[in-house]
Point group: C2
Chain length 417, copies 2
């Protein structure tokens, strides 16, 4: 027994079951996988640092993962090999603090900062246990966290063997080179700190079990769009058959590429978000170079951009080099053919006012999206087809997940104060 179940820090409601098959060397890896396939005939194979077997089993999401049995945590071959060492370290120290760990995990869940997967960028279970060990209790974790500053460092064994640039550094007690909090983002770190401060001032059961989000009705969706007065642009396309931790970084990259495109062209982006809706509950892994030929849809990816205005004026100002760089000035001006005003001098620079190529944001996206770097697996999806919806056209989407996404987007509430 390893993991939270072994140390009584398993949070009810979680139905992830990890079974590790320890093998002595790389040569035995295939034997372990063969065994796993036999034990659960109805499975799919996935791939992280190496292959593993994924299945649904009596209501649990089951991963059967081969790992190498190594003598010392500093000699591990893959990340999962650390698990037994983590278990040994925590088990011998967590006695009497299990309740505190459970409180902390549920509190983090309520605050939306629990989970080290890339979509969340929050706290892992192991990290929450180390925080309880470090500070001594649930309340002490909250008190200390509320005073954190970026670069906060926790080194339980005082054996750190590397400097980290991460916002929170928690040196792994079983591996002096590793930061347990490497996946934690600055925003999730301080979201936790702020919610903790909030809770300490006005404790309430709601922090642990916040009321769930209600999908927006047509009236509510329309009302919010009209009340804000901004312009919403939604880009939709089919999801490629990938696991979340592969897909989400690419979606964030695509989101960033489209934001940059908009901003480069003068549009002011108020906020944006991405989500993945209607995906099959059993996800398949497609390895590098393999094609998904199952024909089963993988759900739909949605990227939402909120702009201050949908339309910009035709005239656009372009500031060039300083006037004292003669050759550059001439090249800059001759590069702009359709000059509406200028060239003139402003703050020492040559300025021209030219015709803007794209005055409507959705047309800009439409015209340029296939030229953007959207992420390795997303570019082909976009090329295969996508749909753009603007403002009221969002009402055409009736699915519950999307309406919940919009409810969360408009509220944007994080219990930080």
């Amino acid at each position: 027994m390893v993991g939270s179940a072994a140390r009584n820090t398993w949070l009810a409601g979680d139905h992830d079951l990890d079974v590790f098959i320890g093998v002595p060397d790389v040569a035995s890896l295939e034997d372990a996988l063969a065994l796993a396939r036999e034990v659960v005939p109805r499975h799919e194979e996935r791939y992280a640092e190496h292959a593993y077997v994924h299945a649904f089993f009596e209501g649990f999401e089951l991963d059967i993962v081969p790992c190498y049995l190594v003598e010392d945590a500093s000699c591990i071959l893959s990340a999962v090999d650390r698990t037994p060492f983590h278990c040994r370290y925590v088990s011998s120290r967590i006695g009497g603090l299990e309740g505190d760990v459970l409180l902390l995990k549920q509190f983090m869940k309520g605050a939306g900062v629990y989970g080290s997967e890339l979509r969340v960028g929050g706290f892992s279970g192991y990290l929450s246990e180390l925080l309880v060990i470090r500070y001594g209790s649930f309340l002490e974790v909250l008190k200390n966290a509320s005073l954190w500053r970026p670069g906060e460092t926790i080194d339980l064994k005082k054996h750190s063997a590397r400097t980290h640039e991460d916002p929170l550094v928690v040196v792994d007690p079983v591996d002096p080179k590793r930061n347990v909090a490497a996946a934690l983002t600055l925003d999730r770190m301080f979201q936790f700190a702020a919610v903790a401060r909030c809770f300490l001032k006005r404790p309430d059961i709601e922090f642990f079990f916040p009321s769930s989000i209600t999908p927006l009705t047509d009236e509510e969706l329309l009302g919010s769009i009209e009340c804000r007065g901004s312009s919403l642009i939604l880009v939709e396309f089919s999801a490629p058959p990938l696991v979340e931790d592969v897909l989400f970084p690419q979606m964030r990259k695509a989101e960033q590429s489209i934001r940059s495109l908009l901003e480069r062209n003068g549009f002011s982006v108020l906020r944006s978000d991405v989500d993945w809706h209607g995906r099959a509950s059993l996800m398949r892994y497609i390895g590098p170079g393999l094609e998904d030929d199952s024909g089963v849809g993988e759900g739909i990816l949605r990227m939402l951009f909120e702009l201050e205005v949908a339309t910009l004026p035709r005239v656009a100002k372009r500031a060039g080099p300083p006037l004292w760089e003669g050759d550059h000035v001439e090249r800059f001006v001759s590069h702009h053919s359709e000059i509406l005003s200028g060239p003139y001098v402003e703050e020492g620079r040559v300025v021209v006012e030219v015709e803007r190529k794209y005055t409507v944001a959705s047309e800009l996206i439409q015209s340029q999206i296939s030229n953007l770097a959207l992420g390795k697996h997303l570019n082909p999806q976009i090329k295969a087809g996508y749909k753009i919806r603007v403002d009221q056209e969002l009402l055409g989407i009736k699915d519950r997940e999307f309406r919940e996404f919009m409810a969360r987007y408009f509220s944007a509430w994080q219990n930080v104060c």
Copy 2:
């Protein structure tokens, strides 16, 4: 004889006549003024560093200015006392170069950089003479100017006695502490340099006598407004009875205050300009604390603002302090009552989205203009009444000066490349 007439560098077309009355001390100043008043009975009194007499006389604008006769230029009591020293310095060196000075002055006029008055911020006559003395000819001035960089320093007598932060420093040969080019702005300095570069590449008589601007017809004005697609806001009010060098800095200040107001409230200002139209040809001076009770109009001041958009969405994003500044975060959030979205965390800061108070730029100006610092003499004028015109409403103004102003504004052409 002093000034350009004394040294044959007077540019035909200028009709300014300055008569200096040299007095030995402050006590004699009043005698000089009395004499001036007697010589030109129909005059007005103006004030710079001390009082002087201004009048129109046989087609000339005549200033009769008392000055102190001092032994050495470093002992002067007011700026005009330097004039005889300047004249002596230039006269003894300009022989044979008068033609070059005249070419340079006319070239600067054509380029729109001649005149050290604050409205222009360009080159004075004396400065252009010193440049010819320094570089040896009209063409050499152009060649050297085209290589200028900010901070360029010319010290003919190598006797500089002070450091200056100005873009061009020309140490006065008759006063080691004074920068002759102090009134020259960075933009006019490099506008001149760029036009010089241009002329050297493609010399043309047009540089000296550019074609004059044609006032816009209704159709042209409307056409430009529609083609640009931006939003134009014009603020008009009566000019106070002040000389240009007092008024223009205040107008620039007012322009800047309104720009800042717009930008603080989220409006993006593309460009702005100010001008003074329909002023009486004979301007009166009103000293500090004195009131203009003549009832004669002083013309109209116009401030033009061009915005990317006239209307912003209701929702506005406000980024607060970093999350780790707990007290500030709480104060920031409680300060915002009408929260549409959030608070949430973005890049380590707390963010709220609130209702924008002013979504229409002209309403913002209307509501806030009387609270702005517009300049000592402009605030009372605004309080007494002003008019705001937006886009097509500009067509209501038929006067020629305004239509020329708009023609210059839309063209914005400076012969810099």
